[in-house]
Symmetry: none
């Protein structure tokens, strides 16, 4: 049954790392082949080309974030706790593998246009969390789209700040502070007293 495909993961991992380190356009197919210990042509068995590879990586991981959020939503936590868990989960994820986060941030300007609201969309999920919290009276009526962006902005910029050395250490240690800020911004009542696991 032919050789088993051994190299696909190696290629995708090498690509992910190189894209973050040198930029997508700064990375050539040859670079990827070299780092993954494969010849250039091998890439084309698994992806139509470089664009396709970038796209595949983006959607794979972008939708992975949606899955992460989706599974947290399944727990029916109250809003405060959900946000706390969410921030913690994201930062823990980041600390385990910062490349994925950095990659998403790097390429989103090119690819976010192609994201569908009805697919696996982490931004849309967070927005729905906000909407239902507002409907439940857990947070006041507000421009939930805007607030969603503010929360995302704080989380993402923390990652960016870490990338450029302005924010130190594992991000997980900032989870509580940033979750607090998210709740504050959302107007989520007595957030300071919320019971924090950990």
């Amino acid at each position: 049954m032919g050789r088993p495909p051994m190299k696909r993961d190696a290629i995708e991992r090498a690509a992910l790392e190189l894209f973050v380190e040198k930029g997508v356009d700064g990375t050539s197919i040859r670079d990827i082949a070299e780092r993954s210990g494969v010849t250039e042509g091998a890439l084309y068995r698994h992806h139509k080309g470089k664009d396709d590879l970038v796209r595949a990586l983006f959607f794979e991981h972008y939708e992975g974030f949606a899955d992460l959020i989706g599974s947290l939503m399944g727990n029916n936590y109250p809003f405060n706790q959900l946000i706390r868990e969410l921030v913690e989960t994201l930062f823990t994820f980041h600390d385990k593998d910062p490349y994925i986060f950095d990659f998403i941030i790097l390429v989103r300007h090119k690819l976010l246009d192609e994201v569908r609201k009805d697919g696996k969309n982490p931004v849309e999920l967070l927005y729905r969390i906000m909407e239902s919290a507002a409907a439940n009276g857990e947070i006041p009526e507000q421009d939930t789209q805007l607030t969603t962006q503010l929360m995302i902005g704080m989380v993402m910029q923390t990652v960016v700040g870490h990338h450029f050395g302005r924010v130190k250490g594992p991000l997980r240690q900032h989870s509580q502070r940033i979750a607090d800020c998210c709740l504050m911004v959302a107007g989520a009542g007595d957030f300071a007293n919320a019971e924090v696991e950990e």
Copy 2:
């Protein structure tokens, strides 16, 4: 000293727009020449090359932000008012010409490494504002680097959200809300009662 260099401006403007629309590497010298009504060779009269052009645009506008902040700092406003004016100024600037903001966001990953702390650096300036507010007791002791990033994150993600259609209308209308959030996050006391100009 003779007539002003009209071509130079046309080239830089065309480049700025194209970079935002198609990405830096997706834009060729030919594209830029075409849109600015100049031939390829002529571009080299004003810039050493494409890299130089990108760099020049980035630093010109990045430092422009620093100048904006710097001149606000000269007024010796109290912290609350300074932040409010700052957010308002940035969003007004964005509404006048969103391309500049989008361009900065687009290329910062490539070029931020080259930014010096001691040069005209808007992030550094905001950080100093935070530091001195903390020294003055206007805000509590905190991880000011982190808070700086959170504030930047909220402002930048609002721009991104606008770019992708999640945040509507001129951003200026959100100034007060987002300034409030910045002050909240910074722990700037009774921010709600701050006197708002306008």
Copy 3:
């Protein structure tokens, strides 16, 4: 001797069709494998490679034409009848499977150099028919090489005209007309009164 090699036929047929439809170089081994329901590697069990496949197909069918002509020659028909039977046979063959004719026309420029005069060579056979008809006094002395080409030209171009939609219907219906033209061109006396079988 065991079961017949079904795959080999499937491969050759798929190749023949694809070569005609997309050109030889426009057809990849993968294309052939796909259409014949075989994998790429399997093709190499039956042929040394793509070149070998093209060559094999060409000679198989080109020599097939020679066999067709050869068997007609065995009947010792008079010249007029031989030509009529020949044209009829060729067009009947075409109508049964136009791909073969089209394929020969397509690749002859590449491979005709390799054809040997002393092998199974339909052009050479027709030339010999002309030569012996001239020797017998069935046709006048003439540049038989040239006349041979003229006859071939009429037959082949009819096929080409059919391929591009200028000549309609099954070619067999034009057999008599074109045989007449061949005889005329060869100066074969009272060709119009020749007895036509059918």
Copy 4:
């Protein structure tokens, strides 16, 4: 005003020759660049790519044939004379530059689909000549499409025969013989007595 384009003709000529000598797919851009004394990139200033170059060459010369025929048609010769002049003109043209003829024959299978009946189309022009000769009573009623193909077939195969060494010498010396054949095939009455210039 920039360098004058010196190399365009050299590129097209080199391409024409190489295509005939080694086949279109057997000729690489590098081959063309080498023979025309230019770097590979230069080709792309004048043509979008190899396909575009082949297409341009084909239509340029194919339409050139139409112009040749068109200008002969302007003389309002009687049918017999027109055909004689036509064959003579074509073969003279061939003898001056056999590459063009060979090239057309080589690539027509790929490109004839794209030829339009209402454009500059030599086949269509010859067909119209036949139609109007039939309307004038210069030739009998017949399947003019088919006869057109037969005449083309004789002319083209003569060229092919020359290419493969079966037909000797300058083709012009065969003009009269082949024009006679064309007239015979078309049923153009007392063709033998037609006055031949020369």
